[in-house]
C-alpha cells in the first residue's frame, strides 16, 4: 500500500514537475489563465497592500523553487502557502489540461487594483481572517456579477466560517450560500469527483493524526453562491486546505490521496470557471 502510494506520488510529481518535452511556438502568445491570489486585509500580522504597493511574488520565480520546498511567502493570511502552492498547482494544470497557464511567477492582485477585472479567476486563502471594506464588498460583488469566479479555501471551524459567511452575505445579501451537491456540474467538468475528501494541512497530513484543525466543526463541506442563471460565482472549500496539498504535493510524507483530490478539485473549479 505504502509502496503503491509512493509510486503514485512519484508519478504525480513527475507529471507536475517535469518540463514540457518540446517548445511550443504558440508559447509566444501570452497565457490565457493566471492563477490569481486575491490580496485582502486582515489575518495574522497581515497588511493591506494598496494600489501603490508592489505585489509579492515578483521576487520569486516558479523555476527557482526547489523540490519539496514550500512556505516562506509572508505578507499576511492572504499569502498563506505562497508561492509554492501557486506554482506547483499551475504546473499540474498545465500538464494535465489544455489550459494555457502562466507559470513563470506567482500572481496576485489587490481587490481595488484597476487590473482586477482582467483576471476572471481569483483564489482566496484563509478567508476566515478576511476583513473587507465597504468599497471592497461592492467591488467583489461587481466582479462576480460580471462573470468573475472566486475560490475560497482553507478556513476551519465555526468561528472562521461565521466570518466567511458574514463577508459573503455583505457581498451578496440577495444570493444565499448553499452547500453543493456532488451531482453538480462543478464536480464533473474535468474529473468526476464522487466524494468530498477532507484535505488536511501539511502537518496533519504528514503526522497521520486528525485531518481537521478545529474541533467545533470537523466535517468538510463545499459551498457555493450562484447567480440568477444558476452559475456558480464562487466555490468555498470549508474545513479543507487545498492550498497546502498543492504546496506540499512533492513532500514524501504528505499523502498522495489528498494531493490528488486537491488537484482534481482545483482543476475542476478552473475548468468550470472557464466554461460557465
Amino acid at each position: 500500500m505504502k509502496t503503491a502510494s509512493v509510486a503514485a506520488l512519484v508519478i504525480l510529481a513527475s507529471a507536475v514537475l517535469a518540463m514540457p518535452a518540446s517548445p511550443d511556438p504558440s508559447s509566444d502568445v501570452p497565457p490565457e489563465f493566471y492563477f490569481t491570489r486575491m490580496i485582502y486585509s486582515g489575518g495574522r500580522g497581515g497588511f493591506y497592500i494598496g494600489d501603490s504597493s508592489p505585489r509579492l511574488g515578483q521576487e520569486r520565480t516558479c523555476a527557482s523553487l526547489e523540490a519539496g520546498e514550500g512556505g516562506g511567502g509572508g505578507g499576511g493570511s492572504w499569502a498563506t502557502d505562497y508561492p509554492a502552492s501557486d506554482c506547483k498547482f499551475m504546473w499540474g494544470v498545465e500538464r494535465l489540461t489544455g489550459v494555457h497557464v502562466y507559470d513563470k511567477t506567482p500572481h496576485s492582485v489587490a481587490i481595488m487594483d484597476p487590473e482586477l477585472f482582467r483576471f476572471p479567476y481569483l483564489y482566496v486563502v484563509e478567508p476566515g481572517r478576511m476583513r473587507l471594506s465597504d468599497e471592497e464588498v461592492t467591488r467583489l460583488r461587481e466582479y462576480m456579477l460580471r462573470g468573475g469566479f472566486i475560490h475560497f479555501d482553507d478556513f476551519w471551524g465555526l468561528g472562521e466560517r461565521e466570518n466567511v459567511e458574514y463577508e459573503l452575505q455583505r457581498i451578496f445579501p440577495d444570493h444565499p450560500i448553499r452547500q453543493l451537491e456532488l451531482k453538480e456540474e462543478v464536480f464533473h467538468t474535468f474529473f468526476d469527483v464522487d466524494k468530498v475528501v477532507q484535505i488536511p494541512n501539511v502537518s496533519n497530513g504528514c503526522n497521520g493524526g486528525p485531518t481537521w484543525e478545529r474541533s467545533d466543526d470537523t466535517v468538510p463541506r463545499i459551498y457555493g453562491v450562484s447567480d440568477d442563471d444558476g452559475r456558480l460565482m464562487t466555490v468555498i472549500t470549508y474545513n479543507s486546505d487545498l492550498g497546502d496539498a498543492w504546496e506540499w504535493m512533492d513532500r514524501p510524507c504528505y499523502p498522495e490521496v489528498y494531493s490528488s483530490q486537491a488537484y482534481r478539485m482545483g482543476i475542476n473549479f478552473i475548468i468550470y470557471s472557464m466554461s460557465h
Binding site: 511556438p25 504558440s26 509566444d28 502568445v29 501570452p30 490565457e32 489563465f33 494535465l96 489540461t97 489544455g98 489550459v99 494555457h100 477585472f117 482582467r118 476572471p120 461587481e142 456579477l145 460580471r146 462573470g147 468573475g148 467538468t189 474535468f190 442563471d229 452559475r231 478552473i270 475548468i271 470557471s273 472557464m274 466554461s275 460557465h276
Partner: protein, 751 residues
C-alpha cells in the same frame, strides 16, 4: 378671341393642322428660289444707290420686308380639314376614380373643379353644336352615362384602357371624330394599354386629353415602400426599411408610427426630403410574438392633405424556432466562457459546444442527449447538417479530418448553414487553415505563413458598412450606436489576415497601428447558400469584464452575432411566396424547396400546400417540380378577393415517408392605389395626345376643345382654305421693318 388669334387671325390648331400652299404657285417650294432671287435683285439695286454707306443690317431689314411682301402677293392659304357640324361623333370620357376627390389646394376637389369648369364654359353644349356627343365615365371599368349628375367619383382603380376598349366596341362603326379624355392621368390598373390604343390609332382618332389636378400635389407625405424580412426568430429585432416621399413639406419633421396588429409599438422621427425625392428610414422593430404578425408603418406630419397614402403593412412570420449551433473550442479560454454566458438567457438559440479541455478530452455543454457529440465532431452529414451554424474557436486545422473539412464547406455551400471562425492562437493561419478547404469559404484571405496572433491593445472601429449593418446595431439610434461602440474597451489580441475577398464585407477594423495599418477584425460573406464570418479576436470578453455588469453590450453583441449567423439557414423543407402582401385577385407564386436530412435536394417528392384563408376555409394545392432547379416545386394561385391573412402549410412526402413540412403566410389587402403617386400625370396625357394626333389641354383651357376638335382629317371632313395674306402680324412686321429701314437710311444720310 385669344391673343394668338388677334395676331395670327386663326387658332393655333389651324396652323398645326393646315397645309400651306400659294394660289399663284404650282408648289409652295417655288417660293424659296423666287424669294432668294428677289432678294438678290433688291440688294443689287440697293447697293447701286447706297454704295459705301450700305450696311448688312439695312440689307437684312429690306430683304425680310421684301420676302414678306412677296409672301403676301403670292396669295398664301392654309388648307385645313374640318368636319361638318353634327356629322360625326365626339366621345367625352370622364375619370370617376377616387383620386378625383383629391383637393390639391386643400379646398376644392378635382371633380368639383371639373364640373364647375364644364358648367361655366358650357362645354358639353358647345361640343354638341359641332358634334354628336357620347358621354362615358370610367375607373376600373367604363360605361356610358347621360348626365353629369350621375357621376360618383368612387372607383378604386384607374384603368385608362377600359374606355378605349369600350369605345372600340360601341363606336367601332360610327364616324368617331375624336375623344375628349378628362382625367388626372394616373393609370394604375391597365395591363394592355398599348394594344387597346393601337385599335383606335388605326382609325386615326385624335385624343384631346384634359389634365385635372396638380402636377405637384402640395402638402402630401406618403409611404411608398416597406422592406421587411419575411421571417424572424422570436425575440429578435427586425430591421425594416421604410421609404417615403413628400411634396410641399420639404424639411419638415414627421414621425413614422409602427403598429403590430393595430397595437402601437414605437415611433421614429424622420425629416422629409426635398419634393418627390425618396427618403428612407431604417427602423428597429422588436418581434416578440410568435405567429404571423402584421406590422404597419404610417407616416404622420401636420398639414398632410392626403391621409389615404400614409400607411403600408408588412407581414412578418415570427418563429419560435430553436436553431442549433455547434461550437468547437480547442482550449479552455475566457472567450469561450463569456460567449456561452452571453447567450444563456436567449430563449431560442441552442449552442451545443465541445471544449477540448485536454488532449483527447472534451467537455460538452448545452446538450440534451448524453449521446450528442460523444464521438466528437460529427462525421456524418445528417449529424452535422442538423445544425444551423458552426463556430470554430482556437483549434488547429489538423483536429479535423479531410472529410470533416470538406463537410464543413458543404455545410455552408449546400446546406446553407452559417460558419464563424474566432481568433486565437490556433485560428486562421496560426491554426494552419491556409491550405485547407476552410480557407476557401472564409471571407478573408489567409496569410501564407503561420502567423501568431498579435498581442496588443486594439480598439475596434466600425467601417462605413458596419455602421449601417444590422449585425452591428446595438442601438436603433445611429449616434447612440456609434457612442456605444466607441466606449468599448480595446481588444487585447487579433489574428492578422490578408485582404477581404471580393464579395466579402468588412464590418470592423482595428484603429490604425504605428504603421498606419487598420487590421480587419470582423468580416462576412455569402458562400453558396450560406454565409461565413471571421472575427479575428479571442478577447471580446474584455467587453464584459471591464464594463459594469448591468451593461448588456457584450451580451447583445453575441446574441446578434449568433442569431445573424443562423438567420438565413433554411430548413430542409421550406415554402415561400414571392411577396408578403397581395392585392385582391393578384397572382400568388408559391415555391417549395424539398431536401432530405443531408440537404440533398429531391425531385421525386409529392408536395402539397394547404391554403387556409382568414375565415378558415381551405384548399389543397398540388405543387409540381419546377424542372429548373433541383428540389424546387411551384404552383400559382390567384389571391382571393377576401382580405386577410392566408396560411400555407406545405408537406413533402416520398413514398410513405414524410420528408418534412413548413408553414408560411401572406396577406391579401387592397391598397388605396388611387392616392399613391396621385399627382396629375400630364406627361402621360401629352403622350396619348401626341400618339393619336390630338392635343393636351390643362383644365383651364378645356373650353378650346370644341373649336379645335373640328379640325381633323377623315372621311367626314372637308377641306377649307384659309387665306393668310391678310394676317395682321404680316402687316405689323412690314410696318416695323420698313420704318426701321427708313430710319436707318436717314441716319446714314441715304434718305
Amino acid at each position: 378671341m385669344s391673343l394668338f388669334e388677334f395676331f395670327f387671325k386663326y387658332r393655333p390648331i389651324v396652323y398645326e393642322k393646315g397645309r400651306l400652299t400659294f394660289e399663284l404657285l404650282a408648289t409652295k417650294w417655288l417660293f424659296i428660289p423666287i424669294a432668294a432671287l428677289a432678294v438678290i435683285v433688291a440688294i443689287y439695286f440697293y447697293r447701286r444707290v447706297a454704295k459705301e454707306k450700305l450696311s448688312p443690317g439695312m440689307i437684312v431689314l429690306r430683304s425680310v420686308a421684301f420676302i414678306i411682301l412677296l409672301f403676301m402677293v403670292l396669295r398664301p392659304v392654309l388648307n385645313v380639314s374640318q368636319v361638318l357640324p353634327q356629322d360625326s361623333y365626339m366621345a367625352v370620357v370622364i375619370d370617376t376614380s377616387e383620386s378625383m376627390n383629391i383637393k390639391d389646394d386643400g379646398e376644392t376637389s378635382r371633380s368639383q373643379k371639373l364640373l364647375k369648369k364644364m358648367e361655366e364654359s358650357q362645354f358639353l353644349a358647345e361640343l354638341s353644336k359641332r358634334f354628336k356627343v357620347r358621354l362615358f365615365e370610367f375607373n376600373k371599368e367604363a360605361r356610358r352615362f347621360e348626365s353629369t349628375a350621375e357621376l360618383r367619383f368612387s372607383g378604386d382603380r384607374t384603368r385608362i384602357e377600359a374606355p378605349i376598349e369600350l369605345l372600340s366596341q360601341e363606336m367601332g362603326t360610327l364616324p368617331l371624330t375624336g375623344v375628349t379624355l378628362i382625367t388626372d392621368g394616373v393609370d394604375n390598373a391597365s395591363q394592355q394599354f398599348n394594344e387597346a390604343m393601337s385599335k383606335l390609332q388605326k382609325r386615326k382618332i385624335p385624343f384631346y386629353t384634359v389634365g385635372v389636378g396638380s402636377e405637384d400635389i402640395t402638402r402630401d407625405a406618403e409611404v411608398i415602400k416597406v422592406t421587411a424580412p419575411r421571417e424572424m426568430l422570436k425575440d429578435s429585432t427586425a430591421v425594416v426599411d421604410v421609404q417615403f416621399k413628400s411634396s410641399g413639406l420639404s424639411g419638415k419633421k414627421a414621425v413614422i408610427d409602427v403598429r403590430e396588429n393595430g397595437t402601437f409599438v414605437k415611433t421614429q422621427d424622420v425629416t422629409l426630403t426635398a419634393d418627390n425625392q425618396v427618403g428612407e428610414a431604417s427602423i428597429d422593430v422588436p418581434v416578440k410574438n410568435e405567429g404571423n404578425q402584421i406590422f404597419s408603418f404610417a407616416i404622420r406630419v401636420a398639414e398632410d392633405r392626403i391621409a389615404e397614402n400614409n400607411t403600408l403593412d408588412s407581414l412578418i412570420t415570427v418563429r419560435n424556432d430553436h436553431p442549433k449551433i455547434l461550437y468547437v473550442e480547442g482550449e479552455p479560454r475566457w472567450e469561450y466562457k463569456f460567449i456561452r454566458r452571453s447567450i444563456v438567457d436567449d430563449p431560442n438559440l441552442v449552442v451545443e459546444s465541445m471544449l477540448r479541455s485536454s488532449q483527447n478530452k472534451y467537455y460538452r455543454q448545452g446538450i440534451e442527449d448524453k449521446a450528442t457529440l460523444e464521438e466528437g465532431f460529427p462525421k456524418k452529414k445528417e449529424d452535422l447538417f442538423g445544425y444551423s451554424g458552426i463556430v470554430v474557436g482556437s483549434i488547429e486545422s489538423t483536429f479535423f479530418s479531410q472529410e470533416q473539412l470538406n463537410m464543413i464547406v458543404e455545410f455552408v455551400s449546400e446546406r446553407g448553414g452559417g460558419f464563424l471562425m474566432l481568433g486565437g492562437r490556433n485560428s486562421f493561419s496560426s491554426g494552419r487553415y491556409q491550405n485547407t478547404p476552410i480557407a476557401d469559404i472564409l471571407p478573408v484571405e489567409l496569410l501564407a505563413d503561420r502567423a501568431m496572433p498579435v498581442v496588443d491593445q486594439v480598439k475596434l472601429i466600425l467601417t462605413d458598412r458596419g455602421r449601417t449593418h444590422d449585425l452591428m446595431r446595438l442601438s436603433g439610434d445611429p449616434a447612440t450606436n456609434n457612442k456605444i461602440w466607441g466606449e468599448l474597451p480595446p481588444l487585447e489580441d487579433f489574428n492578422r489576415v490578408g485582404d477581404v475577398k471580393p464579395g466579402g464585407v468588412v464590418l470592423a477594423r482595428g484603429e490604425p497601428d504605428k504603421s498606419g495599418g487598420t487590421p480587419i477584425l470582423l468580416a462576412f460573406q455569402r458562400y453558396g447558400r450560406g454565409r461565413t464570418m471571421a472575427f479575428m479576436t479571442g478577447s471580446s470578453w474584455h467587453w464584459q469584464m471591464e464594463m459594469d455588469h448591468e451593461n448588456q453590450t457584450h451580451e447583445l453583441f453575441w446574441k446578434q452575432m449568433l442569431r445573424w449567423l443562423v438567420s438565413a439557414s433554411p430548413a430542409a423543407v421550406t415554402v415561400t411566396t414571392d411577396k408578403d402582401t397581395y392585392l385582391p385577385g393578384e397572382a400568388v407564386n408559391i415555391t417549395g424547396d424539398v431536401a432530405d436530412k443531408t440537404f440533398k435536394r429531391l425531385n421525386n417528392a409529392r408536395v402539397t400546400a394547404r391554403l387556409t384563408g382568414p375565415d378558415g376555409t381551405n384548399e389543397t394545392l398540388a405543387m409540381d417540380w419546377s424542372g429548373l432547379q433541383d428540389g424546387s416545386y411551384q404552383t400559382q394561385v390567384n389571391a382571393s378577393t377576401k382580405e386577410g391573412t392566408y396560411q400555407l402549410d406545405l408537406q413533402a412526402v416520398v413514398g410513405t415517408e414524410t420528408i418534412g413540412s413548413y408553414k408560411t403566410a401572406f396577406q391579401v389587402k387592397d391598397r388605396p392605389v388611387e392616392f399613391y403617386d396621385a399627382s396629375l400625370d400630364a406627361g402621360n396625357l401629352r403622350s396619348i395626345a401626341t400618339q393619336t394626333g390630338g392635343r393636351y389641354y390643362p383644365l383651364a383651357d378645356m373650353d378650346d376643345i370644341p373649336e379645335d376638335a373640328i379640325y381633323v382629317d377623315g372621311e367626314n371632313a372637308f377641306t377649307e382654305q384659309k387665306e393668310l395674306w391678310d394676317v395682321p402680324i404680316l402687316f405689323m412686321m412690314l410696318v416695323v421693318l420698313l420704318s426701321g429701314e427708313w430710319l436707318w437710311r436717314k441716319r446714314k444720310g441715304l434718305a
